[in-house]
Symmetry: C2
Subunit: 256 residues, 2 copies
């Protein structure tokens, strides 16, 4: 059986972040993703998507990132509801294209401590993947032992699940060709020791979970424990799946 | 702070089981439940509901109880979707009445082995309850290390969560006054040693998870480890919450 893959679909890929209103999903992009995935249906897969234009307004309105108490606890439902609605659309669209996708909401089975995921059951994810079911997770609000609740980004989910599920192939599909340097050129390989020499361009639409900077930070932590990952433009998804050059950025362990 | 409560709302209480079509929710009953819960809003609470008329048709159609493989794996989504739709209605109705309810779907964070729940993260449930959030779980299809997937009843959730969360007050609200003996009289107290002397009447609408027989079996297992529980008619919910006599059945440890 081929190596299992974690594929992250950036929030900007699946929603229109420029339009602030929630739920502006790019259905045609998702349909293309589904068609690509079907060509590689023998690859066991876990999908994660960003929140895009959904959830951020609620997270801000209720000041989730400052911690959650009884006073702003309803922000948990409000934020979760917004990103869950997006997740449901993603799952429905993938299923309509023949992908056996199933929603898995982080709030409902995971917990964080100080903003970092610290508790979860993973066995059900293993079992789903082994049955050819595609669990679809997403950036979400998660209960937190220190802060009451916090936002866990899709990128943090990528790091934690890649490590804990023992995944070897990690792909982040974005709306840019990869990590861009100050000249706008794609950085083809990135390692921890060279990371400080590169000025990372922010993504156009700032979100509460950090954009490209947050992505790189999580992926370098994966590289630190020997796990490679790839950032590429969504249009190059098939190249990533087939193992061809995707024209984007590889985040590599030191010495690799 | 008062003892934390697990309250189970029977499937027959919140849906019309006689009508086979999914989603026939008894909104007025749920509104009454919410009003009762609001009067005791200082009691930390976890809610579980049965699937009622939802989910059973899908579970049967895909033969979930015979085990799940690649051939019938789509039954997982179909069954989960049906019970999740009910759960969403329950949560929305409770929220509309001012209860800070949040959905927690067992499929998305738990796993079973041979039909028995065997893996789960519970910290997020503790944190929600401590914040005055009411997690609302439900009978669900759950991945299973031996059978691929299985149905976990709301009653099994009651037993496992009561034990693992250290809950001391367990109430099952049903559409009957309690456990009835062959004469139709309420059995006021039930202990393991007397259980075999009572012929348990089945509930009118048979479901895949065992009706009253399944309930008693789970609650006797709780009694075996020293945890009492109560079965009562939904109209007596306030009596249960206030600690008054609810006219139903108490399931007691030997010697209690």
């Amino acid at each position: 059986m081929p190596d299992r893959i974690i594929l992250k679909l950036g929030g900007s890929v699946i929603t229109d972040k420029e339009r602030g209103d929630a739920g502006v999903i790019r259905e045609s992009v998702l349909q293309e993703v589904a068609r690509a995935l079907k060509e590689y249906a023998d690859i066991p897969l876990l999908l994660i998507h960003g929140a895009g234009s959904c959830g951020h307004p609620q997270a801000r309105q209720y000041h989730i990132q400052s911690g959650v108490s009884r006073e702003n606890r309803e922000g948990i439902y409000a934020t979760h509801q917004a990103v869950s609605a997006l997740n449901e659309l993603v799952v429905r669209t993938l299923r309509a294209e023949g992908i056996e996708a199933v929603s898995v909401h982080p709030l409902e089975g995971m917990v964080a401590s100080g903003g970092e995921l610290s508790g979860y059951c993973l066995t059900h994810l293993h079992l789903m993947i082994d049955l050819g079911i595609v669990p679809v997770l997403h950036g979400d609000v998660v209960m937190d032992t220190e802060k009451g609740a916090c936002i866990v980004s899709g990128d943090q989910l990528v790091r934690v699940l890649a490590q804990k599920l023992g995944m070897k192939r990690i792909g982040l599909a974005t709306d840019v060709p990869g990590l861009l340097d100050a000249d706008g050129s794609v950085v083809r390989e990135l390692r921890r020791t060279m990371a400080h020499t590169i000025r990372i361009e922010g993504s156009g639409s700032v979100d509460v979970t950090g954009g490209m900077q947050g992505k790189i930070s999580e992926l370098l932590r994966l590289a630190d424990i020997g796990i490679e990952s790839d950032i590429f433009h969504i249009s190059r998804l098939q190249d990533f799946l087939s193992g061809a050059d995707h024209g984007g950025t590889r985040i590599l362990p030191e010495g690799a």
